[in-house]
């Protein structure tokens, strides 16, 4: 397999000729992008002289979302300031409103999968405290099933950054993190949300402890009829049928710290989701209605030893995932998987400028699926080493090597190198770059699905490169903070597994058939301004992504150079928030450009934008804080479909009453 030629590399067709007003669009996007870049880096030029007095701000004061010190690999965070007002939401809403990851949603609280940097859903790995949550059967996760209230923050590792966690996450890794606050004595939250379409959500959280022990308990329960009205293909208004759901999550976490040296944690999280799957717009027959019950149990135990020159992490986790799918009288199937995940990591920094982090991961998966011929297992052992080396105080480099042994077969080594350069001592500006090779092993469904699975599939391969810069600036008094990030990425995937119709059989079978080139630019800009006791903030994320088919898979194939289906070229979202007198207002805007529905790019879902707004007021009472919040989603009442034939709700409302104990005002 030859690497792509320079011609291919430069072959970034900005917009297909079939777009209306191509030039105008192009100008608009260019302008948008230029303004973005100029604004982001303005303080760098304007304040170059004045920065002397603002240097070396303590890390914790910087409300940074873009991680500056990244050893050449891009990471960003979504913290509790975004999550807290949306406790009743699921991960799919958070990511589509606040990240550049495109979420393909089949409807309100229906299946939601991701496309991260123009890759397929299996190329995004979701972790919970470092534990893989992707199904070993599907290799992907349903984002609508992860409730926001079950984690405290999330970290996004872009592209090759994910190699420090796993192989195969060509798009990246999303890590849901829960962490203790050792200063906490007692903190409780009680929240009740009443929303449109008979949706009720209850959240209860309690954190108790002292400086060496913390316990977190979280519970959420939600029911919804979800019978929103929509227009069907004849223009008639229909109320969504067979769409109710009921879900709950309960989790318990213990954190124990011994002499600031030994850290233990034990976490258990159980989710149960029982939902009906609404039919498409063009189906009128309800005798085949579908329903799905999922339950998952995740348990993880961590031990961390922190010494001056070295750290040791030992982790063991069990993940059980069960799905029961029913389609009328036609299908009744159960899928059960268990994963036993183990990790040992060692970190040694006894040599000057050098940190060495070797480690071993061992995962065993068991799958008992109605669609497999018997129980299937998979053993994955990975040997891992990461080395970080600093050249002076301006250049940081890292090298990651990962070698995996899957059921006795070694997959070729997965290497990644990254470098970060900070040209100035007093300006928080960093340039970073990385190169990586990566592999993704076929999922168990790809290999063992009854009659269709292909045990001879090869791993998917990926070469990627990235170049980016990150900048932030903060005034001494914290009154103004700006950060900007701009990254270009280039990722070439070949031997990509696609389920293809067969000439010799009516069954579709997975084949190592596709070759995809994904390249693009991500830009982010966050600004915070405190003025006259107003707290203003603006967050923007933009992703330009061309992800194209580069190889034909059948005769007369018409997909070469065409954008992958359901991968938008432009994704943009912005959040403006304003706070004063304990009132807060948050306005979120997200724009998704056209998504093609055919590999020949001759049919598409038009672009749309969605506005959501949240108003709230925190009332500081004697022993607690009472918070009232009104959320209006799809403010402009747009009649839209994200996926063809899957209706989405029009304007809808959610009212939340929240009790925070003890008196703790919103961050």
């Amino acid at each position: 397999m030859e690497p792509p030629s320079l011609k291919k590399l430069l072959n970034i067709r900005l917009l297909s000729s079939t777009h209306k007003l191509t030039i105008l669009n192009l100008l608009k996007y260019t302008l948008l992008f230029l303004v973005f870049v100029i604004v982001s880096y303005t303080p760098l030029f304007v304040h170059g002289q004045n920065l002397r007095d603002t240097l070396n701000l303590p890390e914790f004061e910087i409300r940074s979302n873009f991680v500056l010190d990244n050893q050449g690999f891009k990471r960003s965070k979504i913290d509790s300031t975004i999550l807290m007002p949306q406790l009743n939401a699921n991960l799919s809403a958070i990511l589509s409103q606040h990240s550049t990851i495109f979420i393909k949603s089949y409807g309100n609280s229906s299946l939601a999968t991701s496309s991260f940097r123009g890759t397929a859903a299996q190329h995004t790995q979701v972790e919970w405290n470092g534990i893989n949550l992707n199904s070993p059967m599907l290799g992907q996760i349903d984002f609508s099933q992860i409730q926001v209230s079950q984690f405290d923050g999330l970290e996004i590792l872009y592209g090759a950054a994910g190699i420090s966690r796993t192989s195969g996450a060509f798009g990246g890794v999303i890590d849901l993190v829960t962490s203790p606050d050792w200063n906490n004595r007692f903190h409780g939250t009680l929240a009740q949300t009443i929303a449109s379409f008979d949706t009720y959500t209850t959240n209860i959280m309690a954190a108790v402890g002292n400086t060496s022990f913390q316990s977190h308990t979280k519970f959420n329960y939600s029911t919804a009829l979800n019978d929103f009205p929509y227009k069907n293909d004849t223009g008639a208004v229909i109320y969504q049928h067979n769409s109710s759901n009921k879900l709950y999550d309960i989790s318990q976490e213990f954190f124990w710290k011994l002499r600031d040296k030994h850290l233990f944690s034990a976490k258990v999280w159980y989710s149960d989701n029982d939902r009906e799957l609404p039919s498409t717009v063009s189906q009128s027959d309800h005798s085949n209605d579908e329903s799905q019950k999922d339950n998952s149990l995740r348990a993880v135990f961590d031990y961390k030893l922190v010494e001056n020159q070295f750290n040791i992490l030992i982790r063991s986790a069990l993940v059980s995932q069960n799905m029961h799918y029913v389609q009328g009288s036609m299908i009744d199937a159960t899928y059960q998987s268990y994963s036993w995940i183990n990790r040992i990591r060692f970190s040694y920094n006894g040599i000057r400028n050098l940190t060495i982090k070797p480690g071993i991961d061992y995962t065993r998966d068991w799958v008992d699926s109605d669609s497999y011929d018997g129980l299937k297992t998979r053993n994955t052992t990975s040997f891992f080493i990461e080395m970080n080396y600093n050249i002076g105080n301006k250049i940081k480099t890292s090298l990651i090597l990962r070698e995996e042994l899957i059921d006795g077969t070694f997959i070729p080594i997965v290497p990644a190198i990254g470098a970060e350069y900070r040209p100035f001592n007093k300006i928080n500006l960093a340039f970073s770059s990385n190169f990586a090779r990566n592999y993704r092993t076929p999922t168990l469904n790809d290999m063992f699905w009854e009659l269709s699975g292909n045990p001879d599939l090869k791993p998917e391969k990926n070469y990627s490169a990235e170049l980016g810069s990150t900048y932030n600036f903060q005034t001494k008094n914290n009154g103004f903070f700006v950060e900007a990030n701009c990254t270009g990425y280039y990722s070439w995937i070949y031997d990509m597994i696609t389920w293809m119709p067969q000439e010799s059989s009516n069954l579709w079978k997975p084949e190592n058939i596709d070759e995809v080139l994904a390249r693009g630019v991500e830009a982010g800009l966050n600004i915070r301004l405190k003025i006259l006791h107003f707290d203003l903030s603006l967050k923007n994320n933009y992703n330009f992504c061309r992800s194209t088919y580069e190889k034909i898979s059948t005769a007369n194939d018409n997909k070469i150079g065409k954008q992958l289906i359901y991968v938008p070229v432009h994704t943009f979202n912005a959040t403006v928030s304003l706070e004063r007198w304990k009132f807060y207002a948050i306005y979120n805007f997200s724009f998704i450009s056209n998504r093609f529905t055919g590999k020949d790019n001759l049919s598409y879902m038009p672009a749309y934008n969605i506005s959501n707004i949240i108003f709230g007021k925190n009332l500081g009472l004697k022993n607690f804080t009472l918070s009232l919040q009104l959320e209006i989603n799809n403010l402009l009442n747009l009649d839209y479909q994200s996926i063809a034939s899957r209706p989405m709700p029009g304007i809808n409302y959610a009212f939340t009453l929240k009790l925070l104990l003890p008196n703790a005002s919103r961050q």
Partner: protein
């Protein structure tokens, strides 16, 4: 203070990004629905649809993108998505087949669970027949009624004067293709959809069209998907052997009078699943797809080893013989996620023309010659 003004300035400078984006998309007031990019051809909408060939494009399951492509014999042009053009709405989800009765076309839409009855004058829908059970194929019995096979439970009887379901014939399972012999209808039955082949009873039901009752049944190979009748009134049945390769696929000949299997041709290579059994207008040559397009004279004693039309890497999906010309129409569904191509070959298997169709072109429907 000057610094402060500076920060405000930067903040305000950042706002245009926000407003630019608003301007950019403020036009999306129309419902966001799937759009088809029509190539910049100016193919005129035909005056009538009474002389030509319809290509029924199934569309993807659950994507709601079924369509009909029309090959206009008058203007020798190809018009895409004619149902949408005439009715300003999509055809639905998985258009399985189409039949013509007089000046009306009956398009069977499986997953939308309806039949669109269209006028051949303007292709406007005159009726949407509902109350079906996942319909597959329609056969016109006489001027008063038609039978519709269903994936589940029964065969629906359509009253052609009101175009409504007037009754059902219980079959306790999936019925697929059907043909007429004398006053009987022979219907292939695959068994219960949700069961594996070993538990599906494959048979042909013989239905008396006067009493609408099943009067007989004939056991066949697994998954009898195709049925035709030849010039000697022999019935031919194509059996795929089961989606799970339960048994070898086969072609059977049935004596229509005695209702017994007279002959079974088992395919030597069970790999390539055969499909789309069809017969020419004179009733002397069978055609079906097995890799390529196979041609078998009805008096042949063996199956051909080579296809008449090789697949050449295409995924041949739909097949029909133009009753007016005897030409072979075959479609390439490609990878099912892009528009397909339809091909017209003459009787000798020489390519006459090819044209673009819609998503997953699966069946063809020809207007009658006397309609010209």
């Amino acid at each position: 203070m000057s610094k402060l003004i500076h920060y405000i300035y930067i903040f305000l400078l950042a706002c245009p990004i926000f407003f630019l984006s608003l301007i950019n998309t403020s036009c999306t007031k129309d419902p966001v629905r799937q759009q088809v990019i029509i190539p910049p051809d100016t193919t005129p909408v035909p005056a009538t649809y009474e002389n030509g060939i319809f290509v029924v494009n199934e569309g993807n399951y659950n994507w709601g993108n079924a369509s009909v492509t029309f090959l206009d014999n008058e203007n020798n042009s190809v018009v895409q998505d004619i149902f949408m053009k005439s009715n300003s709405r999509g055809l639905g989800d998985v258009a399985e087949s189409m039949k013509i009765n007089g000046n009306l076309g009956y398009i069977v839409i499986n997953n939308s669970n309806r039949i669109e009855v269209v006028s051949l004058k303007d292709f406007k829908s005159v009726k949407s027949i509902s109350g079906l059970n996942s319909p597959r194929y329609i056969e016109i019995i006489d001027s008063t009624k038609a039978y519709v096979t269903n994936l589940k439970n029964n065969i629906s009887i359509i009253d052609l004067s009101s175009n409504e379901v007037s009754g059902t014939i219980s079959t306790s399972g999936w019925t697929e293709n059907l043909i007429r012999f004398d006053k009987y209808i022979f219907v292939t039955s695959i068994g219960v959809f949700s069961k594996p082949s070993s538990l599906r009873k494959a048979q042909i039901f013989v239905i008396d069209t006067q009493s609408d009752a099943i009067v007989d049944s004939i056991e066949t190979g697994k998954e009898p998907i195709g049925i035709v009748i030849d010039k000697k009134q022999k019935i031919w049945v194509l059996c795929s052997g089961g989606y799970d390769n339960y048994e070898a696929n086969s072609l059977m000949r049935i004596n229509s009078e005695l209702r017994i299997v007279e002959k079974v041709f088992a395919f030597p290579n069970s790999e390539g699943v055969p499909s789309r059994l069809t017969i020419n207008n004179s009733g002397d040559t069978l055609y079906f797809i097995k890799g390529g397009v196979m041609q078998v004279p009805v008096n042949s004693n063996e199956l051909p080893s080579q296809p008449l039309i090789a697949s050449d890497g295409r995924l041949l999906y739909g097949l029909a013989i133009d009753p007016n010309t005897g030409h072979i129409f075959v479609s390439d569904a490609k990878d099912y996620v892009q528009n397909g191509t339809a091909y017209e070959y003459n009787i000798n298997g020489t390519l006459v023309r090819q044209f673009t169709a819609g998503r997953i072109p699966g069946s063809f429907c020809f207007t009658k010659k006397d309609a010209r």
